[in-house]
Symmetry: C2
C-alpha cells in the first residue's frame, strides 16, 4: 500500500487547509460583493464534449474515466480501445460553463455574472505552482459585448487579489486582433498569424535572438521578418507606437476605453497598461486579453480575456463572454512560502479534563461563545502536549476541573493575511 498521494496531488495539513479555505472565502465574498453569483458544475463531463472542445494541449492531458460493466466488456471484446472511457475529469471550468449555459439558459438571468470555484485536473508534469489536481477560481460575464464587461472583471479580480495580501501588481492588456493587424502591417500573411503569436508569446523567455532564429526557421518573407525584428528590438510596446504603425481602429479604441476606465477606478492601488507582447496561450480568445503580473514575484497571478465563440458552442451561436481566472495554487504556494496563517477571526483554545467529561463540556460550552474550543483528556506529559498545541496555533488552555481559568501561551510570531 502506498501512503504518498498520487503524482501531482497533495495532502493538506490543517494549517494549509485553513489557509486554502480562507483564500477561497475571501475570493468568493469579493466576487459576490460585485454581484457575481456562484454556480456549480460536475467534475465529470461526457468524453465526447471534452474531446470536441477547444482545449488544445489540455486534451492530451485529460484524465479519462473507464467505462463500467457490460459497456467496458463490449469495448474490450470489440477491440474499441479508443472508446474505453465514457467520461473525463474536466481540465478547466470553461467547457462545463458552455454546457451549463446551453442546458440552463431559460432559468438564468441574462446578462449572467457567474462564479465558479472548483477542482480541475490535468496530467501535467508537476512543478511548483502546477499540480494535477488544482482549484480554479473563475468569474465570467456572459451576454455583454461592451468594454464595461472587461472593466468589471478586471476591477473585481483586482479587489479579490488585494484581499489576499499578496502585494502590488499591474494589469497588462492586449487584443489579439491588434496583434494581427500589426503582423499584417509588417507584410506577413494571414495564415502566419497563429504561428507568429506563438513566437511572440515566447519573447520573455527566448529574447530577440530567439525570435530571430524562430522566424528564420519558419521561412517567412525576409522583409516582413526584418520589420518585425526592428519592432521587437526597439522594446517600445506602447499603444502610441503601435498606433503609429497600424492606425486607430475599433480595436484600439476598445482597448483604450478599457484601460482608461480601469485606471480611473483603480486609484493608486494598481495600474492597467497596454502591452502588445501579451499573447496568452488559449486559441479561443476573440478580443481583449489580460493578465495580472505581480511586482514582487515573477509570473502571473491571474489571466483572462474575451471569448465570444466558446460559450455558445453547444447552441451553435455566438454569445459574448469575458472570463478572468485567479491562479489559486500559485498564490497559495506564495503565501505558504512566506509562512502566512489564515486570519479567520476565532482563536482556538484547549480544555482538559481528568475524570469528569461533563464538566469539560460545560466549561467548553461557555468558552465557545468567544473561542473555538477543543476538549482533551489530560495527557500524561502535559507540558510536551501544550508545546505541540502552541506550535499548532492554539492561543491558550484551561483545566475544566480547577477553577476554569484560561492560561494564554506566549504567542508565536505569525504573519496573517490580509495584512
Amino acid at each position: 500500500m502506498k501512503t504518498a498521494t498520487v503524482k501531482g496531488t497533495r495532502d493538506y495539513l490543517p494549517r494549509e487547509a485553513e489557509l486554502r479555505d480562507y483564500m477561497q472565502r475571501q475570493i468568493l465574498e469579493t466576487y459576490r460583493s460585485f454581484g457575481f453569483r456562484q454556480i456549480i458544475t460536475p467534475v465529470l463531463e461526457d468524453i465526447g464534449n471534452l474531446n470536441s472542445s477547444e482545449g488544445g494541449d489540455n486534451l492530451g492531458l485529460m484524465f479519462k474515466v473507464l467505462k463500467r460493466g457490460n459497456k467496458l466488456t463490449a469495448a474490450i471484446a470489440n477491440r474499441e480501445f479508443e472508446s474505453l472511457a465514457d467520461m473525463g475529469m474536466r481540465y478547466d471550468l470553461t467547457v462545463p460553463l458552455s454546457r451549463y449555459y446551453a442546458e440552463n439558459r431559460a432559468k438564468l438571468v441574462l446578462p449572467m455574472k457567474c462564479i465558479q470555484i472548483g477542482n480541475a485536473y490535468r496530467a501535467e508534469n508537476p512543478q511548483r505552482g502546477r499540480y494535477r489536481e488544482f482549484i480554479q477560481c473563475d468569474i465570467d460575464m456572459i451576454g455583454v459585448d461592451s468594454y464595461w464587461a472587461e472593466v468589471e472583471l478586471i476591477a473585481t479580480t483586482a479587489t479579490a487579489l488585494n484581499s489576499l495580501g499578496i502585494g502590488a501588481f499591474r494589469i497588462r492588456v492586449n487584443d489579439r486582433r491588434i496583434l494581427k493587424q500589426l503582423f499584417l502591417s509588417f507584410g506577413f500573411e494571414e495564415d502566419h498569424v497563429s504561428a507568429l503569436c506563438v513566437i511572440f508569446d515566447k519573447m520573455d523567455k527566448i529574447g530577440v535572438c530567439g525570435i530571430e532564429r524562430e522566424l528564420s526557421d519558419k521561412g517567412f518573407y525576409a522583409a516582413a521578418c526584418l520589420r518585425m525584428l526592428e519592432y521587437v528590438r526597439s522594446a517600445d510596446f506602447s499603444m502610441g507606437r503601435c498606433m503609429r504603425i497600424i492606425g486607430a481602429s475599433d480595436y484600439t479604441q476598445n482597448i483604450e476605453s478599457i484601460i482608461r476606465a480601469v485606471n480611473e477606478i483603480s486609484g493608486a492601488q494598481y495600474r492597467c497598461e497596454f502591452d502588445i507582447s501579451l499573447v496568452r496561450g488559449q486559441g479561443y480568445y476573440t478580443g481583449a486579453v489580460f493578465e495580472v503580473e505581480s511586482l514582487a514575484y515573477s509570473g502571473s497571478l491571474a489571466g483572462g480575456g474575451r471569448y465570444d465563440n466558446l460559450i455558445g458552442r453547444f447552441l451553435d451561436e455566438s454569445v459574448p463572454a469575458v472570463g478572468f481566472s485567479i491562479g489559486f495554487e500559485r498564490i497559495f504556494d506564495l503565501l505558504m512560502e512566506q509562512n502566512y496563517v489564515a486570519a479567520n477571526g476565532r482563536k482556538r483554545i484547549a480544555v482538559f479534563f481528568e475524570g469528569d467529561y461533563g464538566a469539560a463540556f460545560q466549561c467548553a460550552r461557555d468558552l465557545r461563545r468567544d473561542y473555538d474550543v477543543s476538549i482533551f483528556a489530560r495527557p500524561k506529559k502535559l507540558g510536551k502536549f501544550l508545546d505541540q498545541l502552541r506550535r499548532d496555533g492554539y492561543t491558550g488552555f484551561c483545566m475544566a476541573e480547577a477553577a476554569p481559568e484560561l492560561t494564554f501561551f506566549t504567542p508565536e510570531k505569525v504573519k496573517t493575511v490580509p495584512q
Copy 2:
C-alpha cells in the same frame, strides 16, 4: 454534443449553489468551534489502495481512471485488461483518511480531531438524495479509545444539524458487539453473525414476516430462529430487555456511558437512545454505531461509529478512531424541496447606467459597504428585467445617473435557514 450533465451528477443554479455553500459553511464553522481541524485529501487515489480497502459494495461502484501514454499502450498490447486503470476516484473520505494518517502522522497533533468536507464518487443508480457525485461532511477523532470520543462526535454533529434548521431529530446508538452477544445467546453460531446483522438491518423494511422468511431461507437452527423471532415480535429493543437476556458487560456499560453523557449535555434539544435494531451497513465498525433520525422526515440525516482497525491499516497497527458523517445531499434536497434560501447576511441590489459606466462604478462602490452590488447597462425592457431580478432574490435597485436613490422591491416570501 450533450448539454445534460452526465448521469447522476447535477448542475446547480445560483440559488442552489448558495444554499450548498451556506450549508457547508454552517457545518464547517460548527465543527471548528468544537476544535476539529480541516484537512484536505485528493479526489484521486492509487487504484491498489482503493481495491484493497474494506469498501464492500462500493468497490464495484468505483470510477477508475484510465492509464495514459505508454502505460496504457502497454496494458492494451499485453492484454492486461484488469490493469487499464492506475487510479480511482475516492468512494468515501475514510480510505484517504487512513492513507493521510500514515503519511502525515509525524506532523499531526494526536489525538487528531479532523474535518473533511469534499466530493466522493460512486457509480450508483441515481435516486432522490443519492447521486454519483456527492459531498461528504465527516468528522473523525483518531487516537482516543474512551467513550468521550463518541460523545464529542455526537454533540458536534447534533449542533451542526441544529444550525441547518432541519427540525427535530433523535440519535440512535448501538454496538455490534452487543448485537453479536444477543445472537449467540439465542443459540446461533459465530459464523452466522454477519448474515444475521444483514437480516436484522432490514427489519424496518421487511417486518417480522420478512425476517421469518429470511431466517428459514438461510437454514439456521430452528430453536435459535424461534428465540430470535420471539424477541423481534415483542418490539421491545430497549437496553433493559437486552441486558436481561445477555447480562451487563463492558460493551453495555460503554454504551450506557455514551447515552448518559449525551443526554446530560443535549438538554431538551435532542435525545439519544439505545436501539438494538441499528446495524449500519459498513463491516468495518468495531464498537458503538450511531445514526441521526429525523422526527419530521423519513430516513437518516447522519451516521457513524467506532472503527479501530481501519485508520491503522496502512501502518499495520490498530489505531482507535470514531467517525460521524452528515448526509449532506439528503439534507440539501430536503431544504430545497421546502424552498429554503441561504441567509448569508448581505442583501443584493442592482445599479443601472445608461452611458457613464464610471458613475455606476462609484455609486456601486459606495453601496458595496452595505450590499452586494451588481452593475448592469440599463436594458431596453427595464420592467421585465426588474421582475427577473426580484424573482432571483434581489432586494432593490438604483439608477446611477439619477440622484442615486435605492428603490426596494416588495419582498418575495422566502424561508431562510436557519430559522
